[in-house]
Symmetry: C3
Subunit: 630 residues, 3 copies
């Protein structure tokens, strides 16, 4: 498969007479794909029911005639102002009880049936008109579900929807009361219609109440997306994609992905670094203009799983953005490096965001491949270089990784509802494991929590998975794996099971006591590292592999082992070294910023550091990419 | 008097068939008391007016037949969901104007007359049924008044109640306008019905307006509690107790206590350490698993005063809790040490919270004496050890202390309304004095602000008491005492008196200028210490005992003296050393973590440090308790 | 012109029998002016329409008969409680959607037409009664517009007013949609009545939408003030003044000032230091009791421009205030120094706030010239000293400065709407330039953004001016000036112009890329300094004067030059040194705290440091003022 590049374009932002020239320049830059339409509802339907497809017809023709393949987005992330007259209560309500106003984007409530009908209608109209258009080679549903904290709405529509969802799930309030433990503080319900949303309570709401609301909210995103997919599939055979937002866990991307053909994500390495990715001040200074060296890779591996092998970058940062607290420019070369890291992880296509920087509105300070005055922006030359390199390199394939890392959206919600320690965050825990794998030069597959077969992997990591699915429980029993901390310590209702977890036949251990720790206190281990944030006291006769210096078990088990705390980085490194030695995997101790990724045929080496790095005698410049055959 | 242990138990959480075994194990552990019922309203009254006492009858019988004495709680902290249908406006309103939702606990507004009637009704029904039950040996009203910021409600019911309260207090708006100084910004009122609550104003509301609202809110707690007491006393001779929450000053505990027979408090030493008690990071690390070495003692002495000599621990932390930002496990031995510190301060009974850790709902990560799987948790053995030690030790009595520390709830509200410096907090000031007494090995009685006789004390401390009561003013005039800063510098209406305070016959000094200081600036004293947070400029001919290095008076007076600033710790130590020498009291400079408390017959030595400590040749291990006859 | 002193007085706060003595003491202290009345609406109109002028008549007589000149304030900052019964919706609404309650001050919405009529009515009544009173020598409108974040109200009245304002400005929604770039996220409007206020949106609202709302809100202040001016001018020839609040930029002070005769501001040097003025902790410790050495001077120069040469201090801090996070007392001498710094900058009058400290209400801890018990407070003697010094010093005049600094309120709003970097604040940028001028001992005129003639200045600084006015654009073309960063990089609609700015005929440069930087990262310059917060990449053939160490242009141009970043302090110093050398201006490198200001005849030297400083052989004590003839 030949990898391709693309770009995001907004014909409605520009005079029609420059479209053709834009299209020609895109082709000249080596771009194959162009995404359009995803914010254009008002231009498509200026007044309720009065459609204006003419400009879009013409834009599609101009772009398509230039040889570009088009991804057409449904415009549902930006319902026009007139829709509020039809559906005044379609606005999402925030956790503080305030309606979220018109004037930016994503102001709709996923539970609002009136807006859901509008969403199906506009999708149907687009699908009917363009479903068989030869230039439309892919579809995008909505835009960045969940972005700006928009998954969860505390509206009346959500309350009603949640009550119905609970009624279907539990069938009786008695069952719900039992599952949630509502007896605890006289919180029992007699009628599903009495159950409110878990916001604005006096002290914390019941954790299973919260978890079920988070599940419901995720399901609404899945339903909303599925409704669009149904409309498009009725008219088109082109693949359907959603562009997920990185570092966003409020809905189950695997479940949305199950209805789609391809996963894609929006990759803003520098935008994320300043406040969405954990790191010391020194780390953030070092990678200020490159982004965290493992964040993109993590998401690449995640969305390869979400897309069941097929995935894209739908939006790739090309220069400074406008929305992070600080917005520095990338180091020269990074727009190329980021693309190659994606391809090395199996991306089919990388689209830059956006073609020309807009001189107006909220994102006017967000760079594009062109400047506002249509001159080339720095990233344009890098895109061209990538397209030429693609042409010169054979298909490198996508490797099956040796290491599996289980990532479970429900666990992020469970621990958000019940962190028990202020710093416990499931993404952070999983990402700390992932980073250690990257330091060791390992290729990783991120896998969903219902995976049934781990036999292709040399070993598996499953930290913090609150409750194991039946297939995974069975698969782990025979696997070489490290699970814990917190793994399988809860029932599916977020209560503590009897017998105490984890409950896997081959692992004779129970978590009998738990403690969370402030940032300046750790629990020292006999190997010189320590547990941070979290530690557990274990009971059981599983063999002890590592102890804390105060004599408690830290890692127990044989092939399948359990770790009773959150390892610091040095401990992760030792754990992975031992696992690699045990299963016969080559491992490295890569310097800070140098990263590897293997494909079927090649090894790619990326230098995220701001200075040159040596890779086995080859000097790789800052922002440099190197590949060699395996 | 023989000291006793107890435990909190929730029969409604567990299958009935295990109650008897639980009861037997409690007795085996040396426990005498069991508290039940305080969150069970929904189980007692599943639907409005449909009572179900059967299960409680049986639980009382099982527990009582096992030999346990029962404290029965009124369940008013957890009104069931159905009550909202009867009283939709019974929900408290927070300071931001939002109703506080159902789904946790304490969601009621103390001013709501409909809920007040419900509270009297359920209390009456319980009192009628169990008032003469031989097993019911004590009663608890509600649970942890004020917890989760629930004293003050900004509801319509509170507005009406406040207006009536003001009308009764001031009789005319003219008097109120004068008392509050409403002329200042044209804030005068013509009608009590025009007076709102002091929230959401453009800039700060008038301080006496705030203070009166805080007084009103406190009075509502007093009234609410008294209404339950009246109902219980009509049916029962058993003592009535409330379990106060530590570090909570939003209502006057002395006034609530005046209607009760015994005071109790809920002691969570580790839970409080992380964010409710002041301390440096190093201090918090050192006492991470032991709690602040003076916080429990402070509250013991406070509640001994609130209970007029009779007091308990109603809930004693036995292991990690769930509600602090970080929740580490106690050092082995602390569950014993905490109990003995309470007994040494005169506690009659210490009840651990709770018997068995609940596997469900909000507190599922809160440890008990048993684990969720009914195995012994670590604290169970410590409780047993304490019960055996009690049996072997003669009654040690409760000493009358040599030092009195005045603690005034009104002053906490006054300075909350008018801190004048961001760090000025009355609890913090009083606690800084208390900590110094503990470092000096002194026994302290905390006394109420209307105390009329200080003659039993060698000396008295009264920092920050905004306005002296007539009895205390008279008592201080003849006492050896240190008052200030800020003491008696205001009228009862929180204005500045003429002549300037303090106004005590025997003390010729006035505070003529005040300044507050940022944390990194102090005012050096000639003794090497400094004033922090706060300093005052004095005028008057009282003799000067200490000066600032810039030549101002720092401490003036003879037997009765005034301190013109907030002393740092070293200055407190010097002040107490001088006072002790002056009155002939033995004093110590105890090492960090070693603490003393004398009873009538014994001296108890507690080691809160994480390492062994020497006490006059005896090594006391970490978490160790030592006693010797006096 | 003889400089004068004055004081703020509240006869309604004190018994009538002490007014005469107060007046006599004011005269004895050398005070000439007394401001009264500005919070007395309730005393003037206790019930709607029932006026009580008697007390004010008598107060004016007593004060005037003592020889004092009176400034009479309109009381509109404190509408009485009864007005809410007439106009329940006159309360401002905060950005979170909550009405701002009665009980402090400034609770009105500038857009509310009902309140606007009340404001005109009370002003008319006062003007009619006192317009020709010989003692009334000046008027003050309202009090501290904008204080407590009161310029912007998110009320229904503001929404309607904003819609009308937009309709008049844009004439058609099509023009507005184009100007704002509403096509961007389908944000177009079909009807002005559909346009809401830019609060509570899901993610950031469109920046030009915000900017226009800020412009509208500023215009409402201008209108409100003008309405009072019209009423007063109809009855009185006395000058009309407003007392602006320092460090407050939410409305255009130049536009309000255009309707007034004299500008004044309320100077609280210590109150501002702790949280309104940027500074390192060491800086804040050093100037804890003196205030920032440049903050007062900046505002003096600003309000001299706002008043077109005529300006006062209406409120001068005399001791500790009550409203800052920490409220230390001034160093002895500062109440004198602050007055002289004002006079040296051309102030006609300095009024201390307030005569006697109020013993009641919100400001009871705010010092005055008298204590609450009527004894002299420390500042009284300093005021007397200043009045004597004034008598002994000839008229020193007001110098025309050599350096112009452009300050533009619109730019503060533009960058507030679109900071692009979390630390970008226009006041902070302009103040960093001003501070550098003060370190160099330069006299500065702050000038408005529509200035048309810069020929009187040796050089001009214009940092961060988002869009140059036509006159300023023309004036800069021939001036010696340094502009940038960000200057003239936007259209008047806050979009990016084509061609890229700055667009000045004589300056061949364009800003083609922008980046914002976190606080711990700078861009090094070849002169040893660095850019902080912000840097730009330039294109064009203007000669390069300074480069970054990575080879980009940092300063380009000839006489008119552009700086492509935010200089750190050392870079500002080098820039000013070079400019001074170039234009032949004497410059200094003043030590930290020593500051100069020249008048027509004298040089004043001020020592803000807490220790003595040497000025050319003369030791100036801490808080000392020195003057010498030029």
């Amino acid at each position: 498969m030949k990898r391709t590049l693309g770009v995001c374009y907004y014909p409605e932002h520009w005079p029609e007479h420059i479209w053709a020239d834009d299209a020609a320049r895109m082709v000249d830059a080596g771009l194959s794909w162009v995404r359009i339409g995803e914010f254009a509802w008002q231009r498509l339907e200026p007044k309720p029911g009065e459609m204006d497809f003419g400009w879009l017809d013409r834009a599609i023709n101009v772009l398509g005639d230039a040889g570009l393949k088009i991804i057409l987005g449904t415009p549902t992330a930006t319902p026009p102002r007139w829709m509020l007259d039809k559906h005044p209560d379609m606005l999402a309500i925030d956790e503080q009880g305030r309606p979220r106003g018109f004037g930016s984007r994503r102001h709709y409530c996923f539970s609002h049936q009136g807006f859901r009908a509008e969403s199906r209608r506009i999708t149907r109209l687009l699908a009917q008109r363009y479903g068989s258009n030869e230039h439309i080679q892919a579809w995008q549903t909505d835009n960045e579900y969940a972005c700006h904290d928009t998954t969860r709405s505390y509206s009346y529509a959500a309350t009603e929807g949640f009550q119905n969802w609970l009624a279907q799930k539990y069938q009786s309030t008695a069952a719900l009361n039992r599952a949630w433990g509502n007896v605890f503080w006289s919180m029992d319900y007699d009628d599903f219609a009495d159950i409110g949303l878990p916001n604005l309570t006096v002290t914390e709401p019941n954790h299973p109440h919260v978890l079920d609301f988070y599940r419901y909210s995720s399901d609404m995103v899945v339903q909303f997306n599925r409704e669009q997919v149904v409309e498009i599939r009725a008219q088109s055979v082109a693949p359907i994609i959603h562009n997920y937002m990185g570092r966003e866990t409020s809905f189950d991307h695997f479940k949305v992905g199950a209805d789609l053909d391809i996963a894609s994500w929006d990759s803003y390495p520098i935008g994320f670094l300043s406040d969405r990715i954990e790191g010391t001040p020194a780390h953030k200074r070092r990678f200020l203009r490159q982004g965290d060296p493992d964040n993109q890779a993590f998401h690449h591996d995640l969305y390869r799983a979400v897309g069941r092998g097929r995935w894209w970058i739908m939006e790739q940062q090309p220069g400074p953005v406008n929305w992070a607290p600080y917005n520095p420019a990338p180091l020269p070369g990074m727009a190329r490096l980021w693309a190659w890291e994606a391809f090395a992880h199996g991306a089919e296509t990388v689209c830059y965001f956006r073609w020309r920087q807009a001189p107006f509105a909220q994102e006017q300070m967000h760079a594009g491949l062109l400047r506002t005055d249509s001159a080339d922006a720095p990233a344009l030359a890098e895109a061209l270089q990538v397209s030429q390199e693609i042409n010169n390199l054979p298909d490198v394939g996508t490797t099956r990784a040796d290491v599996a890392l289980v990532f479970d959206y429900e666990s992020t919600w469970a621990w958000e509802a019940q962190p028990q320690g202020a710093d416990f965050d499931q993404f952070r825990l999983a990402f700390s494991a992932y980073r250690a794998c990257r330091r060791a030069g390992l290729n990783v597959d991120i896998v969903p929590p219902d995976i049934a077969d781990l036999s292709a992997y040399k070993f598996t990591l499953a930290p913090g998975v609150m409750h194991l699915s039946d297939p995974l429980r069975a698969a782990l029993a025979d696997a070489t794996a490290l699970i814990g901390p917190r793994t399988d310590t809860k029932t599916e209702h977020l209560s503590i099971p009897t017998p105490l977890g984890p409950n896997i036949a081959s692992l004779h251990v129970s978590v009998v006591l738990t403690e969370s720790l402030p940032p300046d206190v750790g629990v020292p281990l006999e190997n010189g590292g320590q547990f941070v944030h979290w530690r557990e006291i274990l009971e059981g006769d599983a063999p002890v592999q590592l102890r804390t210096t105060d004599g408690h078990s830290a890692i127990v088990g044989d092939k399948l082992r359990y770790i009773a705390g959150w390892p610091d980085d040095s401990t992760w490194d030792l754990i992975l070294r031992d696992l690699c030695v045990e299963v016969g995997l080559t491992h490295y101790a890569l310097p800070d910023g140098l990263r590897l990724r293997d494909t079927d045929t090649h090894r790619f080496v990326f230098n995220y550091a701001p200075e040159p790095m040596d890779w086995r005698g080859t000097e790789i410049p800052a922002a440099g990419v190197h590949w060699e055959t395996l």
